[in-house]
């Protein structure tokens, strides 16, 4: 469980990207989707929760222990509890998929590697890629392999930033299904996923966090029925959210 309090987030000397006045909680046994418009702060919030971006103000705690500042949890322990899938795309040419996935075992000093790596590859259906060079993969294959790398870390909390962006539609659904399944079978405790796949987020998530400069949290039903989801994205347009299909449609019929 991650608790975030009175957060103020930003980069360098730039303006605040995200300000959260209340306390937030990313609880256990839940698939949580961060949704919101471009530039709203999803990635920023995710990186902060992952221990990769020190907040300008406020506190972040992992099961009660601070992630930043004095008395913070050690890097090694944090790496054994949390794993990330980011949008970065710098990839070494001459690293094989299995070697890349095995980097997930670094926090354990390489212990129990083979079984964990094998499981991670199996979850993401990428065993057949194991001997390929990372540089030769397609974007989508690489994205699945990066999920496998995170799973090889055997985290309790998995944080993913737009992990479906390069995947074909069946693989997008399969990834959400995998996360759902991992959470339900208690392989991981919490999955936090920043995504624009509204239909998948609405279908698979337990909780939604609407992120647009500020944050609003609730169950999927709660937030769709109150109109909060639609309002986060398109407060001033004439588009309406079809909450069953998870897409935006013009409220007035199209003029011909």
């Amino acid at each position: 469980m991650i608790t975030l309090q009175e957060l103020r987030l930003g980069y360098g000397s730039g303006p605040d990207v995200l300000v959260v006045h209340e306390a937030m909680e990313l609880p256990e046994h839940a698939l949580i989707s961060l949704i919101g418009p471009n530039g709203g702060g999803k990635t920023t919030l995710l990186r902060c929760a992952a221990g990769l971006l020190k907040p300008r103000g406020g506190t972040v705690r992992l099961r009660g222990e601070p992630l930043y500042g004095p008395g913070a949890i050690s890097r090694d322990r944090r790496a054994r509890v949390m794993a990330v899938v980011l949008t970065e795309t710098v990839f070494p040419a001459y690293l094989r998929v299995r070697e890349l996935v095995s980097l997930g075992r670094l926090p354990y000093g390489g212990r129990d590697s083979d079984a964990a790596i094998q499981r991670a590859l199996a979850y993401t259906e990428s065993e057949y890629l194991a001997r390929r060079y990372v540089g030769s993969l397609s974007d989508g294959e690489r994205q699945r392999v990066m999920v496998a790398r995170a799973l090889a870390q055997e985290p309790e909390i998995l944080l993913l930033d737009e992990p479906t962006s390069h995947l074909d539609p069946p693989h997008q659904t399969a990834l959400f299904q995998l996360l759902r399944c991992l959470v339900e079978s208690r392989v991981i405790e919490t999955a936090v996923i920043a995504t624009h796949q509204l239909h998948l987020a609405l279908y698979f998530s337990d909780l939604l966090v609407l992120v647009n400069r500020s944050v609003r949290q609730g169950t999927t039903t709660e937030l769709t029925e109150s109109g909060a989801v639609a309002a986060t994205f398109a407060p001033h347009t004439n588009l309406g959210l079809d909450t069953h299909r998870g897409w935006f449609v013009p409220e007035a019929p199209l003029q011909s």
């Binding site: 790496a79 980011l86 990839f91 070494p92 690293l95 094989r96 070697e99 030769s136």
Partner: protein, 338 residues
Amino acid sequence: MKTSLPLRLIMLVPVLAASVLLALVLGSVPLPPKDVLVALFASVSPGEEFSLATVIVQQVRLPRVLTAAGAGGALALAGLLMQTVFRNPLAGPGVLGVNAGAGLGVAFVILAGVGAGLAAPTVTAAIAGAMAVLVVVMIVHQVVQQPVVVLVLGLLFGYAASAITTILLAGSAVDGLERYVQWSFGSFALAPGAGPLTLLLATLVITVPLTVVAPRLDALLLGSSYAESLGIHAQRLERTLLLTAGVLTGIVTALTGPISFLGVAVPHIARGYLHTSRHRLLVPTTVLIGAILAILADLLARLPGSEATLPLNAVLAVLGVPVVLIVVLRPRQGGVQT
């Protein structure tokens, strides 16, 4: 042919030994291999008679070969570290501006008219200049924390140091200018006293811990955020690697003058040879290939059998460019990457 990667690394050791032997045998005075071996292990005590072969091997060729091996290994290693830290295949030991700093130090010494040739004052000044630039770059890295900014600032400091060097030299006498140009050609023949052995030992000593932390360097290839998420103090690791590369480059440049090409090219040759980006094997392989190439390039530059010599940097480029082209342009996937 499929050879296991550790075997490919081990196969380089006899190649290195052969290169060393070749460099000791060939020269303006060719010596038979048997005489070379005898001369290598002959003890030279003062007041005793010893053969010409012993003098040539122990006092001329061996220091030169040791310098070449140490410098080649160190520069190649520095280049690999820079490419890993910056995740940029074009990075090399020169991008921190350390070379230019060393050049500035040498120009100062020449202008002050201290010492002659490439003696101790020049080496001291070159190290001082190199370290001054390195310290500035490291402070900047501490403040801005972004590797790319350091890359740009390293280049800028390099240009600034070169500019000041040019101004200093413009005001110096012709013989000073000649000394500087001589230094800037690069040579493995000029390292004084204990320099060659120190350089070689320093390179070997640094290689060992780097091989131990190799998986962390692999993680750094994914970017500093992923490295952090794996529990690595990415910024501290990057700083240590930059410092290591800078110190290696500074020492080499001080002892041999600016040596171009090896630092950028050898890591690519090593990756192409091993087909891996994993540092555990890549680090020692890069050092070995760097040493081998430096020894062979120096041997060619000496034009065995003749009295003339070629500028080392020219030979390195002529020898190295085709090799790198072959490695990089092979129709496999990959190409120029870290």
